[in-house]
């Protein structure tokens, strides 16, 4: 069973007036430079007053209250929680890389890595050009839809403002379309989890800017009719956007460019194993076909002769512009570069193969244990959905109960209640870096939980039992907002 430390006081509660980590303070500079009185701060900010050891101990203890890939199996569907190789971090944190000011002379060694990363991503996705600047998947999506809009505008095709998304799409898809000033048309999926082709035909028209798709879809299955979808949208004058959330499933097996997509964003923090960091930083590189190339966000690494240089608005006057203060999450991109070089050509293909092997194995074993797969006739991609609607009816347990109980067994929960289309669902993504023994242990926990459902379902309803806290009062959290510690008046 999991064993995490119990409560840790707030850092503010550890302090004492006058205590300092003085070794970290700079020497006082002699001189008389001063801020004019009316612009000066009157009262110092209420920050902690603690020693260096207190800081180290406090944050180390906090870290121990987390589940993470380094400590636990983390089959969080749609998030690709695979091993983040230590080398990626070590090499990206070489002091010379960390010391580079983004506005200094173009650093040839660093830019060589970025250039090669662009080339490798281009090859893997089958696209014509790549920009590494979007700072997260959602920003990559934004860049993609903004480019689609810019493309139609440049052709003076101004009526194309509708983005089609399947109902099963991630919430960022419609939110992104709205941020780009587009309206959203949702279309249903059929019983096999594929896009409903007739609904798509009915939805496209002269207002269609494009369609946003994930393939394999968020339902964990490969979109069979992708070629047909592509031709329907293209014939209607729209473009195809590929949400790269599930790229891990098809790495080296099939390329979005070959499926007919015009633009793709990749989540480097999923497929290329850069850290999730407790919720970021991500990196959402975008790749495009020839039509969208002029609109790529800047800067991009170019090469003139033997020299690397930043391509800017001068080189791409039709660019959708800059999405970050400098060049996106450069250090994340560097980690992805290290990962790709470690894997190389032969490793890259094995990613999808073993992600699929693990997902299909786990699905079969859970089915054998009595769990119901949402799409039993389909192959799992790198992930699959279990629906607990029957268990919900029979025993009153919910997907949330099972998720919380898994924590007690020492496993991070799968994704719950996404996609919304499948009732009481668990979206399970084991990733390729998990060993068979770990998958088997997870199955055993699920089998034990199944027994608990039948005989002691109250144990599930009250789970987790072994975490630092029990289930939290979310209603109170949202109603009596306590969002910051304040010093006693």
């Amino acid at each position: 069973m999991a064993d995490l430390p119990a409560r840790e006081p707030l850092i503010f509660e550890l302090g004492k007036p006058g205590r300092q980590a003085g070794t970290q303070f700079p020497p006082r500079a002699a001189g008389s430079a001063e801020i004019p009185a009316h612009l000066r701060r009157a009262v110092p900010p209420a920050l902690p007053e603690v020693s260096e050891l207190q800081v180290v101990r406090h944050f180390t203890r906090l870290s121990q209250m987390n589940f993470s890939i380094d400590t636990h199996f983390y089959p969080l569907g749609s998030c690709t929680m695979k091993y983040n190789p230590k080398a990626c971090n070590s090499f990206a944190m070489l002091p010379e890389f960390l010391g580079l000011h983004p506005l200094g002379p173009e650093p040839q060694g660093f830019m060589a890595c970025m250039y090669e990363l662009q080339e490798m991503l281009q090859e893997i996705t089958g696209m014509q050009a790549v920009s590494l600047t979007p700072m997260a998947g959602a920003q990559g999506e934004f860049a993609g839809v903004a480019m689609i809009r810019a493309y139609h505008r440049a052709r003076n095709d101004l009526g194309r403002t509708e983005i089609i998304v399947p109902q099963a799409a991630h919430g960022t898809n419609p939110a992104t379309a709205a941020m780009c000033g587009c309206s959203v048309k949702e279309i249903p999926c059929d019983a096999n989890g594929d896009v409903d082709i007739e609904a798509l035909r009915a939805a496209v028209g002269p207002a269609t800017a494009g369609i946003m798709l994930t393939n394999p879809s968020t339902l964990g299955v490969f979109e069979h009719k992708i070629a047909e979808v592509a031709s329907i949208v293209h014939e209607a004058g729209g473009l195809l956007y590929y949400d790269g959330a599930n790229l891990n499933a098809i790495l080296g097996k099939v390329r979005p460019g070959d499926m007919g997509f015009d633009v793709i964003h990749m989540n480097l923090h999923k497929t290329f194993s850069t850290p999730h960091g407790g919720g970021g930083p991500g990196s959402g590189a975008v790749g495009v076909g020839a039509r969208l190339r002029p609109f790529l966000p800047i800067p991009i690494v170019g090469r003139d002769g033997g020299r690397y240089r930043w391509l800017t608005e001068r080189d791409l006057p039709q660019s959708i512009g800059r999405l970050s203060g400098f060049m996106g999450n450069a250090g994340v991109n560097l980690r992805a570069y290290v990962y790709m070089r470690l894997l190389g050509r032969e490793g890259m293909v094995r990613v999808a193969e073993f992600a699929a092997l693990n997902a299909n194995y786990l699905m079969k074993r859970l089915q054998a244990a009595g769990y119901e797969a949402a799409y039993p006739t389909r192959r799992a991609s790198h992930e699959f959905i279990i629906t607990l609607k029957r268990e919900n009816r029979l025993y009153g347990v919910t997907a949330m109960d099972v998720a919380k109980r898994l924590l007690d067994y020492g496993f991070h929960a799968p994704t719950t209640y996404f996609p919304l289309l499948v009732p009481e669902c668990l979206l399970i993504e084991p990733t390729e870096t998990e060993a068979k023994e770990d998958l088997d242990r997870f199955c055993e926990a699920m089998i034990a939980i199944r027994r608990e459902m039948e005989h002691e379902s109250e144990k599930l309803a009250a789970a987790p039992h072994t975490m630092p806290v029990r289930r939290l009062d979310d209603v109170r959290a949202a109603k009596q907002l306590d969002l910051a510690w304040k010093p006693a008046a």
Binding site: Q24, P45, E52, L62, H101, K253, G278, G280, P281, R471
Partner: protein, 462 residues
């Protein structure tokens, strides 16, 4: 290679369980015509040889002494900051959706939010955004939602604002019909004058952006600008440097109003100075704080303190109904992640430094820049551009093109600052320089000596 643990025996047994003959069978739903051929990628490398390649590339670019700021600042980073931040339990965890198994990350974010509120003098903070520039874009979108009295979607951007921030705001917010109008700065003071806002008095304007210190390092008269905005029912978006807030008036205190309406309405900025390395521009993090009354208009994750079923205190993500996974096309933003790992670093940094340490960093940076400006402007052909009070950056005017001077300095191992001639051609040969607490007398001496030599050589050659 690919970090795959499977043995041949594992594979056989797993395929048998699945009922497939080969791994390739698992891809039989992908139409054959679409299958990829062999990828043209370089072969795999071991960690040792790759380490050698990357070390060569990293060291090849050298380690010059840096006097560039312009939105990314070199500060001392205490050893504990990244030693703890890169612990696997922080580094390899996901967004804290399962609160019970993520109390470490959640409590840390709550502490971070508390610190950002304290620094900026505001009531609520989110869990961070991508970076300073994109945080301003989000702040502009938020202002449109928050300023119910305004229908113009018109936002005033001073030209003394970091020009890249203006570009990013346009790229991100421009698609939603927001109109950005630029407000000129005073050529001699190097800051925004109240007079330049007068044409907008009485008009429908959604928000005024005030960067403090501004892109030139000059201090704006934030009180009078804020008063003017509030008199005209315009929201104030403050863009601030967090280190400077140890010595500068908090945006929550801007203006001379004494009622609850005083201060900026939305505060945002680049969090990088708080323990995050320069690293070619990222990953950094953007911060955002605001008044409680606007909390539901704020984008990004927010952590709240609550209790569990046994009444013990605990932390969870809250106000999620604003967000994309619930509100879809009506969400406050499409943002999902924050920059959790950088927030971890910043929270550890702020804890170590405390108010006293931050104040010392800010005071030392202020003094070092004053020293640098005094030394450089004593050189023939170099003068100070602006008269306004400064924090830790300044614009110098040279008597010849800046690019040539900078490349001569670079050959001497010095990054002498940022050439402004592209961004502000009207200023002539303008150079933006910065010295933080990391620049000691020996560095400033070296810069002054090198610049004197470069300027003299150039004059002699002319």
């Amino acid at each position: 290679m690919a970090f795959i643990p499977h043995t041949a025996d594992d594979i056989d047994r797993m395929l048998e369980c699945i009922g497939a003959k080969t791994i390739d069978d698992l891809f039989d739903e992908i139409p054959v015509a679409l299958r990829a051929g062999e990828l043209k990628l370089p072969p795999a490398m071991g960690e040792m040889e790759l380490g050698r390649l990357l070390t060569e590339r990293a060291t090849g670019d050298g380690r010059p002494v840096n006097f560039i700021g312009a939105g990314a600042y070199e500060h001392h980073i205490p050893a504990p900051v990244w030693a703890i931040t890169t612990r696997g339990e922080f580094y390899s965890a996901y967004t804290p959706y399962q609160a019970e198994a993520s109390q470490g990350t959640l409590q840390l974010i709550y502490e971070y939010q508390s610190m950002m509120c304290a620094l900026t003098g505001m009531e609520v903070s989110n869990a961070s955004l991508y970076d300073g520039a994109s945080a301003l874009a989000e702040a502009c979108l938020m202002a449109v939602r928050a300023n119910r009295g305004s229908i113009s979607r018109r936002i005033l951007l001073p030209r003394s604002l970091n020009p890249t921030y203006a570009q990013v705001a346009l790229a991100i917010a421009g698609n939603q019909g927001i109109v950005f109008e630029s407000v000129d700065f005073d050529r001699s003071a190097g800051r925004t004058l109240l007079e330049s806002l007068q044409p907008y008095t009485g008009q429908d304007v959604t928000a005024l952006v005030i960067q403090q210190p501004n892109f030139f390092g000059s201090l704006e008269e934030a009180d009078e600008l804020t008063d003017w905005a509030h008199q005209n029912k315009i929201l104030v978006i403050a863009v601030v440097n967090p280190i400077s807030l140890a010595v500068l008036k908090a945006p929550g205190q801007w203006g001379t109003r004494t009622d609850s309406g005083h201060g900026a309405d939305i505060v945002c900025g680049e969090g990088q100075p708080l323990g995050v390395p320069l690293a070619s521009g990222g990953p950094y993090f953007g911060f955002m704080t605001t008044r409680m009354q606007y909390v539901r208009q704020m984008p990004g994750r927010i952590v709240g303190r609550t209790v569990d079923t046994e009444g013990r205190p605990g932390f969870s993500l809250t106000l999620q109904a604003r967000e994309q996974h619930i509100r879809r096309s009506k969400a406050t933003s499409n943002i999902c992640t924050n920059q959790g790992l950088l927030v971890t670093a910043a929270t550890i940094y702020m804890s170590l430094m405390g108010a006293a340490g931050l104040q010392q960093v800010a005071a030392a940076s202020l003094q070092r820049t004053a020293d640098l400006v005094a030394r450089l402007s004593a050189i023939a052909g170099v003068k100070v551009a602006f008269t306004a009070a400064r924090f830790h950056e300044a614009v110098l005017l040279l008597d010849r093109p800046v690019a040539l001077v900078l490349s001569a300095l670079a050959r001497r191992g010095i990054l002498g600052g940022l050439d402004l001639s592209d961004r502000y051609p009207e200023l002539g040969h303008a150079l933006l320089v910065c010295a933080t607490e990391t620049k000691l007398d020996v560095d400033i001496d070296a810069y002054a000596a090198a610049l004197a030599e470069v300027m003299q050589t150039a004059r002699a050659a002319a």
